[in-house]
């Protein structure tokens, strides 16, 4: 009995010693510099070496994450908790700074009702594929084709194909990654600053007559918008109106004028200037207002004629006292949206 125990202890001790020594020697001799983050990521992973992630073991995944080849949430077993830890190690933060955030907008309104279909298209149901067949099934070769290539490519699900057969973009969700812009064969999606509310939703450069034949809501290059714009922000170039987003002040005058409703905006939510009591009556606002909507005597509080105000916010910018606020005409955005549930 004692004998067995002693030989066991000796052999196991010997093996343990040998292996321990071997490992020590190896780790000294073969020490390799590795990205320390690999180890920390590995630490954060569950270590099941299950291979479910498609990488050979947790080590493989850790390396892939550090090399940027795998996303931080690639470990299926670890779930969200692990993903968070890994994200922290990798220093991946949330979406970049807001401010002049850009969002994607669809510059075509030629849906099933509005646009004319010139022929029966048969074949692969993909916008790009269809666009290569006689420039697409719609009479307007610039029109959205409506098979939703953009919907498929959007990584955050911000795009859905609406009832009109046109994509609808959820501007809240959109991260401005621009993938849809690249994907769309008709180039009808474009990124524009979130603050811009007025858009010409048509890119057809055919002659106005041809456009009118092809679509009810196309830009027919009548130049009415150009004439009415107080800020020289919209021009007809190549048979289609184009807005200079830097100059546009969301006054929406062009929207009012456009005979085909090719220009759109959040018209119901148009802003109005409101002057509060800190007004000192300097008259600067009245002088600057492009539509003469402000009146009032010197040194007296001025008034805005809401009928005339177009919401360009020049006055607000010019006011030395900051006494002018731009307010959504139908209350603020919150109340202007459906309030059925707000009351509950």
């Amino acid at each position: 009995m004692a004998n067995t125990i002693i030989t066991s202890i000796l052999s196991m001790g010997g093996l343990g010693l040998a292996m321990g020594a071997g490992l020590v020697l190896a780790s000294k001799k073969f020490a390799v510099e590795t990205d320390p983050r690999v180890d920390s990521v590995l630490e954060a992973l569950p270590g099941a070496n299950c291979g479910a992630c498609g990488y050979p073991g947790c080590g493989g995944l850790a390396r892939a994450i550090v090399d940027g080849k795998a996303p931080v949430n690639a470990c299926l077993v670890g779930g969200e908790a692990v993903a968070k830890k890994v994200a922290k190690i990798m220093g991946v933060s949330d979406v970049g700074a807001a401010g002049d955030r850009k969002v994607a907008r669809v510059l075509c309104q030629g849906g099933k009702e509005e646009a004319k279909f010139k022929a029966e298209y048969t074949g692969v149901k993909s916008c790009r594929a269809a666009s290569m067949v006689n420039s697409g099934p719609k009479a307007c070769p610039f029109a959205c084709i409506g098979f939703g290539d953009c919907e498929k490519v959007c990584p955050v699900g911000a795009i859905t194909m609406g009832e009109k057969g046109l994509p609808v973009i959820d501007e809240e969700k959109c991260t401005g990654c621009g993938l849809c812009v690249k994907e769309c064969p008709k180039m009808v999606i474009s990124l524009s600053p979130e603050k811009n509310e007025v858009h010409v939703r048509c890119r057809a450069t055919m002659k106005g007559k041809d456009t009118r034949d092809a679509c009810k809501v196309g830009c027919i290059a009548c130049k009415q918008c150009e004439k009415v714009c107080p800020f020289d922000a919209i021009h007809v170039v190549n048979n289609v109106a184009v807005i200079d987003y830097e100059k546009c002040r969301n006054c929406m005058k062009c929207v009012e004028k456009c005979p085909t409703k090719a220009i759109t905006s959040a018209f119901a939510k148009r802003k109005k200037a409101v002057i509060n009591d800190t007004c000192i009556g300097c008259t600067i606002c009245a002088k600057n207002c492009p539509v003469n909507a402000i009146s009032g005597e010197v040194k007296k509080k001025h008034e805005v004629n809401a009928e005339l105000c177009i919401g360009c916010s020049i006055c607000a910018e010019k006011c030395p006292k900051g006494a002018i606020a731009m307010v959504r005409s139908e209350g603020d955005i919150k109340t202007s949206s459906c309030n059925a549930c707000a009351e509950v």
Partner: protein
């Protein structure tokens, strides 16, 4: 002699394939068989380790355990200790000597420690009474059998990316079912070699 070795190879690779007939190494089989390239790398790494293990097991069994009468109870512990350490050693050495080789197949090494084929090969060597040469051949064929299984499965799985597999069966389920069919096919080799 050569014929016996040939039988050993055929028996281990085909008839008693470690994955399809002996049910060993399932976890890496499931995990790594989704891409052909990865499978080949993993297969090669495993084959290498298995051959090494066979040698180690042979020496431990016949030069330590048997002489001291310890094989009945120290087999598992001593084998696994040596395997785990060896794998770790090899990993370190490969990493140092050739980072490219490490990237090609060293990354699979840690996963192999927990591949039960390795311990099974070690334990089967004394159980079957293989001599030194046979042990090496056995280890090698075990690895080849594993590699074969991985490659077949990976090929099929790559094609399945184009298939409309029912939701619920996606992932491990379809792999098991496919493995079941492959195991069924491998039964065709039954009786090929006198065992």
């Amino acid at each position: 002699m050569l014929k016996d070795l040939a039988f050993l190879v055929v028996g281990t690779v085909l008839v008693n394939n470690f994955v399809f007939a002996r049910f060993l190494g399932q976890c890496p089989f499931l995990g790594v068989s989704s891409k052909l390239e990865t499978s080949i790398g993993m297969g090669m790494a495993t084959t290498f380790v298995l051959t090494m293990t066979a040698v180690a097991a042979y020496f431990i069994q016949y030069y330590i355990l048997e002489p001291f009468g310890l094989s009945a109870f120290l087999q598992i512990v001593s084998f696994i200790l040596v395997i785990a350490s060896l794998v770790q050693l090899v990993e370190m050495i490969v990493l140092k000597i050739s980072p490219t080789m490490y990237n090609a197949f060293g990354i699979y090494l840690p996963l192999i420690t927990t591949n039960c084929i390795v311990l099974a090969v070690a334990l089967l060597i004394p159980q079957k009474g293989y001599n030194f040469i046979e042990s090496i051949v056995f280890g090698l064929s075990a690895g080849l059998g594993f590699t074969l299984a991985l490659i077949l499965m990976a090929g099929i799985r790559e094609d399945l990316e184009f298939a409309d597999v029912p939701e619920a069966l996606r992932g491990p389920a379809i792999v098991f079912l496919t493995a079941g069919l492959l195991a069924m096919i491998f039964l065709g080799f039954t009786g090929l070699v006198p065992l």
